[in-house]
C-alpha cells in the first residue's frame, strides 16, 4: 500500500497541531519543578515557580495587603499577598497572625518584577502553605 503525499502531509499537519495542543494542556496542568530561591533569576520572569523558604519578614499594609519576605539563607524573595487574596485566606480561617517569623513557607505563583525586584505572586489559595518551623 502506497500512501499519497497529500494524505501524509495532512497526517503530519494533524500530528503537529494535535501534539502542540496536548503539550499545552499538559503544561498547564503539570506542577512547575521546585526551584531554590537562590536559583530563581530574572530570566524566569513570567513563569510559574514553586519554592520554599523561611519567613524572615512580614509587613502589613493599611489596605489589607500582607507582604512576606522568605529566604533560603542565601537569597531573599518577596511574596505579596494582596487584600483580595488575604480576604479569601481569612474565609478559610488563615489570618495574618498565622504567619510566624522563621516558619517554613511553600509558595507557588507567577514570578514578577516589581520596581526591579523579583516577587512571587500566588493566585490560588493552596499556592501558599505554612509548613511550620
Amino acid at each position: 500500500m502506497k500512501l499519497s503525499k497529500n494524505f501524509l502531509t495532512v497526517l503530519s499537519l494533524f500530528t503537529s497541531i494535535a501534539g502542540l495542543v496536548l503539550i499545552y494542556i499538559a503544561s498547564l496542568n503539570i506542577e512547575p519543578q521546585k526551584t531554590a530561591i537562590s536559583d530563581i533569576t530574572s530570566d524566569m520572569e513570567g513563569r510559574r515557580v514553586i519554592t520554599t523558604g523561611y519567613l524572615i519578614e512580614k509587613r502589613k499594609h493599611e489596605d489589607g495587603h500582607l507582604f512576606l519576605t522568605i529566604s533560603d539563607n542565601k537569597t531573599k524573595m518577596q511574596v505579596p499577598l494582596f487584600s483580595d487574596f488575604m480576604s479569601s485566606l481569612n474565609q478559610i480561617g488563615i489570618t495574618t497572625d498565622d504567619f510566624h517569623l522563621n516558619d517554613k513557607i511553600s509558595v507557588r505563583g507567577t514570578l514578577e518584577n516589581y520596581k526591579g525586584r523579583l516577587q512571587i505572586v500566588p493566585k490560588n489559595l493552596n499556592d501558599v502553605k505554612i509548613l511550620g518551623e
Binding site: T9, S16, G19, I30, Q33, G46
Partner: protein, 414 residues
C-alpha cells in the same frame, strides 16, 4: 598528571565515537550524569578533559550516521534531499565523509589559532553584538524563509518555523520535561526520526559505494568553504540559537558555493569552529555557549589562559586520533550497508531512539517527540528545508532577548 589526562582523553574519544555513531544521542544527555560523578574523580581537570574529548570526537563521527542513515529513495524530489544523502545515492558516501573530515580538521586548526591570537577581542565582539542579537535572529528567520524562493514555499517555511517555535516555547519554558533533557526528544523528532520515517516509507536502497580518495571539488572551492565556515562557526559559537545548518545555508549563498560537496565542507567547518569557540566560551566571553561549557563552568568555576591552552591541546590530541577513526568507519560502514536491509536498519534506529526518549523523558517526552516528528515530516512533505525546524530555538530566543518572555508566559499561563 599528564598520563591521566591522556587516559581520560582516550576514554572520552571512545565514548564520543559511540555517541557520534548513535543518531539523536548527544553529549548533553549524559552531562547531568557526569556532573554527579565529580566526587569520584580525583582531579576536576580530568573530567573536563573527558568532556572536551567526547565533544570533539562526536563532532567528527556524527557525520557518519547523518550521511549513511535516513537517505530517501533515489527518485525523491532533489530539492528536499540533503547534500550528504545525495552523494550517498550517487555511490559517493565515502567522499562525503572525507569532505567533512577535511573541512572539519582544517577549520579546527584555524579556529584554534584564531582563539589563541584573537581571543582577547571576543568579549568586545560579543558585547557589541549582544544588543543586536534579536535583530540578527529575525534576519536569520527572514533569510531562511526567503531562501525558499517561491512565494508558496516562503509561506510554508514560515509555517514550519512558527510550529517548531511554538513547540520550543512550550517545551523550553514549561515543566513538561526536565530542562536538561528538553532538547533530546525535540531534536530527535524534528531531525532524526522524521528523516528515518521518510527513508522507511520510500523503501530506500543504497547503491554500492565507491571507496577512493577522489574529491570532486576544486581546492579553491574547498578553501573558500572552509574560510566561510570558520567565520560562521565563530559567530555561531558566540550567538545563541543560530544553528549550524542555517549558518551553512547562509554562507552557501554568501559565498555562491551552491554545490552539495562544498556545502558539506562548510557545514563541518562551522561545526568544528563552533565547538572550539563554545568549549572555550567561558574564557572568551565569560558566558557558557553549549551544554559542555555549562558543565565545565560547574566543574571549574575559574578558567585562566593556561586552562585554555590545556583545552586546545586536548582538542588537537582528540582530533588527531578521531580523524583516522572516522575515515576508517567511513570506509567500512558502506560495505555493511549494502549487505543489510537498509529499511530494517532505519527501523531499528528509529525504535532505539523512541525507546531512549521514553526512558529519558517519559510519556510527556514521547508526546514531545511525536509532535516534533510530525513537524519534521511536514517540512519534508511540504518540500521546504528541514533546517526551518530550527525555529524551535529561534522563536524562544527572540522572545528572551526582546524581553517579551514575561508577556508570553503570562498569556500562555505556563
Amino acid at each position: 598528571m599528564l598520563l591521566e589526562i591522556f587516559l581520560f582523553s582516550l576514554f572520552g574519544i571512545i565514548l564520543g565515537v559511540i555517541l557520534g555513531l548513535l543518531p539523536g544521542l548527544h553529549l548533553n544527555n549524559l552531562l547531568p550524569l557526569f556532573a554527579s560523578l565529580t566526587f569520584l574523580i580525583p582531579n576536576p581537570y580530568y573530567l573536563v578533559v573527558f568532556i572536551i574529548s567526547i565533544a570533539i570526537a562526536q563532532v567528527f563521527t556524527s557525520f557518519i550516521p547523518s550521511i549513511y542513515l535516513g537517505a530517501p529513495d533515489g527518485d525523491s524530489n532533489s530539492l528536499s534531499v540533503l547534500p550528504g544523502h545525495r552523494l550517498l545515492l550517487e555511490g559517493r558516501g565515502y567522499e562525503a565523509i572525507r569532505l567533512t573530515v577535511i573541512g572539519g580538521l582544517i577549520a579546527l586548526i584555524i579556529s584554534i589559532i584564531v582563539v589563541l591570537f584573537f581571543g582577547n577581542y571576543f568579549a568586545s565582539l560579543y558585547n557589541i553584538t549582544r544588543p543586536y542579537i534579536p535583530y540578527a535572529l529575525i534576519v536569520v528567520i527572514l533569510f531562511m524563509m526567503f531562501s525558499e524562493r517561491q512565494f508558496k514555499k516562503i509561506i510554508l517555511a514560515g509555517v514550519i518555523i512558527l510550529l517548531s517555535g511554538i513547540l520550543g516555547v512550550l517545551v523550553l519554558n514549561s515543566s513538561i520535561i526536565p530542562q536538561q533533557n528538553a532538547l533530546f526528544p525535540t531534536f530527535a523528532g524534528l531531525f532524526a526520526i522524521s528523516t528515518l520515517i521518510t527513508s522507511i516509507t520510500e523503501k530506500a536502497k543504497i547503491p554500492k559505494q565507491q571507496i577512493d580518495s577522489t574529491l570532486n571539488a576544486s581546492k579553491w572551492s574547498i578553501s573558500k568553504s572552509i574560510a566561510l565556515g570558520v567565520i560562521a562557526g565563530i559567530l555561531v559559537g558566540l550567538l545563541p540559537a543560530v544553528g549550524v545548518s542555517q549558518a551553512a545555508t547562509f554562507m552557501q549563498y554568501l559565498g555562491r558555493l551552491g554545490e552539495g560537496r562544498t556545502f558539506l565542507v562548510t557545514l563541518s567547518s562551522i561545526n568544528t569552529a563552533n565547538e572550539v569557540v563554545s568549549l572555550n566560551s567561558l574564557y572568551l566571553i565569560s558566558n557558557p555557549r553549549s551544554g559542555a561549557s555549562v558543565a565545565i563552568e560547574r566543574i571549574l568555576p575559574e578558567i585562566n589562559f593556561y586552562d585554555v591552552l590545556l583545552f586546545l591541546g586536548v582538542i588537537f590530541f582528540t582530533s588527531g586520533i578521531v580523524v583516522p577513526i572516522t575515515l576508517y568507519l567511513g570506509r567500512t560502514i558502506p560495505q555493511l550497508l549494502v549487505k543489510i536491509n537498509y529499511t530494517f536498519l532505519s527501523l531499528t534506529v528509529m525504535v532505539f531512539l523512541t525507546l531512549m526518549i521514553t526512558i529519558m523523558t517519559g510519556v510527556y517526552g514521547l508526546l514531545v517527540g511525536v509532535t516534533a516528528t510530525g513537524i519534521g515530516l511536514l517540512s519534508a512533505y511540504l518540500g521546504v528545508r528541514r533546517s526551518n525546524c530550527m525555529g524551535i530555538l529561534l522563536l524562544p530566543s527572540i522572545f528572551f532577548f526582546t524581553g517579551l518572555n514575561p508577556l508570553v508566559f503570562t498569556l500562555l499561563n505556563i
